[in-house]
């Protein structure tokens, strides 16, 4: 007979195995779904997961999608560890793109080497600002962080749409809601000849290592970990919860802002209304899949970037709607949360004790 028994200690093996089992379950779910839709499931999975890694161009495009996912997820990992439910990475990313674009377009005629750093800093500061307001409202007025950050996503989106339709619209753009193309001085350098792999991706990986260093090696990181594991204990130890909250939220906003400004100064090259296909929301899944560990987020971000890339290819090659990507992400998180049950519990196969 099979019984479920609570573990005395959380299983560290299951903690690592759980994402892999969840991915496997999601793939099985995908096979069933595609069969039901009369699509060859193995062809579909090949297009979704293998084709994005098949040649150097596709790998490059995959990395372009990985960058923003990773930047947002590193920040969110720290937030969630400190019990700050920041759902606002999407809005912070858009704010970063908008703020950076303002600087890039103001100095569009300049050829100074300082323009690019200024643009990036403007993006980072805008992202921080966009996370600072909900943080302030939570700490000062006790308002619900989840709901305010979500609302700021919508506000940021409309602000961006307003800007590309109004003050930042290209005067020579025939009325399209787009800014002028940025000058070469404000475009992030590409790292590999002939691809779109840009400096922002390298910055994302560096950010992941910085996040790991803070979390694992500093006193601040120690406080964050204690705070997440046992809030009353952290308060008893005298940790300043306000300071920690401010730090994780601003750090997360800065990285999301960098993600946004890297998109407009990198692969896109101008400000457009649809900068992000929901990177800020997908980053929540990346953070969980990476076990709220900044280095784990690298692996998880690659997986989700492959899925994004595969979604594009599946739409072109097999006529599968792109929305399948969002659905798979949700299913993946469901399976992950279900598998995490076995971190705290285990199945026992045995006969009932008779004597």
């Amino acid at each position: 007979m099979i019984r479920i028994q609570a573990r005395t200690e959380p299983s560290s093996l299951m903690k690592l195995a759980s994402p892999l089992i969840a991915i496997l379950c999601t793939l099985i779910f995908g096979c069933i779904l595609f069969s039901a839709l009369d699509k060859n499931p193995f062809q579909a999975l090949h297009v979704l997961l293998i084709a994005p890694l098949s040649d150097i161009y596709n790998v490059g495009e995959m990395l372009v999608k990985m960058g923003p996912l990773l930047l947002c997820a590193v920040g969110l990992s720290l937030c969630y560890r400190a019990n700050m439910w920041n759902i606002g990475a999407e809005g912070q990313l858009l704010a970063g793109a908008l703020g950076g674009s303002v600087v890039a377009l103001t100095f569009i005629d300049s050829e100074s080497v300082l323009v690019l750093p200024c643009t990036l800093v403007a993006g980072i500061v805008s992202g921080m600002l966009w996370s600072a307001v909900p943080t302030y409202l939570k700490l000062r007025f006790n308002s619900n962080l989840i709901l305010t950050t979500i609302m700021f996503n919508y506000i940021g989106l409309y602000l961006l749409i307003w800007a590309v339709n109004g003050p930042l619209r290209d005067p020579d753009g025939y009325g399209f809601p787009e800014s002028a193309l940025f000058s070469d001085a404000t475009i992030l350098p590409t790292l590999v000849e002939g691809s779109r792999i840009h400096l922002g991706i390298l910055l994302a990986i560096i950010a992941a290592f910085i996040g790991w260093f803070i979390l694992a090696k500093t006193h601040l990181g120690f406080q964050i970990r204690v705070f997440g594991a046992d809030e009353p204990a952290a308060k008893y130890a005298g940790f300043n919860s306000k300071k920690l909250s401010w730090f994780v939220m601003l750090f997360s906003g800065a990285l999301a802002g960098l993600a946004g400004v890297s998109e407009v100064t990198g692969p896109i090259g101008q400000l457009v209304p649809n900068i992000s296909p929901g990177y800020g929301y997908s980053a929540i899944i990346v953070a969980y899949l990476g076990r709220l560990h900044p280095l784990g987020a690298i692996v998880a971000a690659v997986f989700l970037a492959v899925l994004y890339m595969g979604g594009d290819l599946a739409q072109i090659e097999m006529g599968i709607p792109i929305a399948v990507v969002g659905m798979f992400q949700g299913v993946l998180l469901f399976f992950l949360l279900a598998c995490d049950f076995f971190i705290r519990n285990r199945l026992i196969f045995n006969k009932p004790i008779t004597h």
Binding site: L137, F141, T148, M151, Y154, Q329, V331, A338
Partner: protein, 310 residues
Amino acid sequence: MDADLIVQILFAAIKTGTPLLLIALGEVICEKSGILNLGQEGMMLMGAVVGFIAAFSTGNAGFGVLAAMLMGSFMSLIFAVLVLQLGANQVATGLALTIFGTGLSAFIGSEFVGNTVQGFQPIAIPLLATIPYLGDILFKHDILVYLSFGLPITIAFVANRTRIGLILKAVGENPHAANAIGIKVLKVRYLAILFGGAMTGLAGSYMSLVYTPMWAENMTAGRGWIALALVVFASWRVGRIMLGAYLFGFASIMHLVLQGLGVDISSNLLAMMPYVATVIVMVVISADQFKEKLLAPRSLGKPFDPRDMA
């Protein structure tokens, strides 16, 4: 501003507030049992798309509503199993539900974009509709709005005056004590979550069958989230949810009102108003920490494992 315009605005505020009211009524019952379901947006979208497809294929809007409520319940069942049976984090599971519902609804609805259905037609109630002003505001709606007038009264009665309401309150305030006196805590929470899902599904079908009436990707535009804020605004009291829903409804159409009055502000900036209004309301309402702690269900968001009692 003349009287006719005010009547029109109030009429539209009720129409816009109705989906918020339906979701918040379901969610307040769910939260009273101690469960925070953040998946409203996803469940609402699934309700909207399934309701639309059912009504489109059968030609009967009633079937659409029924299908939407079943879909909402089914979505909330996924949430319930993860949260109640497997002890998953309620915030993360709710977010997963929203991401899943947003993706799945866009996926299955992609073939139906651009179609329209014959939704519910407005019914003027005899006599009442002839009352000057009031009749035009309240009694020329469709059947779902009339239903939403009756629901808060019923739900308030059940929650505050009956044994069922008492059990619900016991489970939400102190699940361990409730368990000790023989209440099946998880069963109560399952039912509360399923009720919330059905109500959100209903709200989704209202969007796609009455409000627009059509299906478009992401058509709910954050209403599920605004409804969650509405529950906080109402301090978990059913009567105040009704008032709040129409206030939020009014905030959502304010940009149309201002445009109608000829105010020269970009429509994209005005489109932010419902979200800005929600933030402001959250700040004003929650500023009094003591009051919020007093009114929120005490076990809200905390898991309950019956094995801990053994």
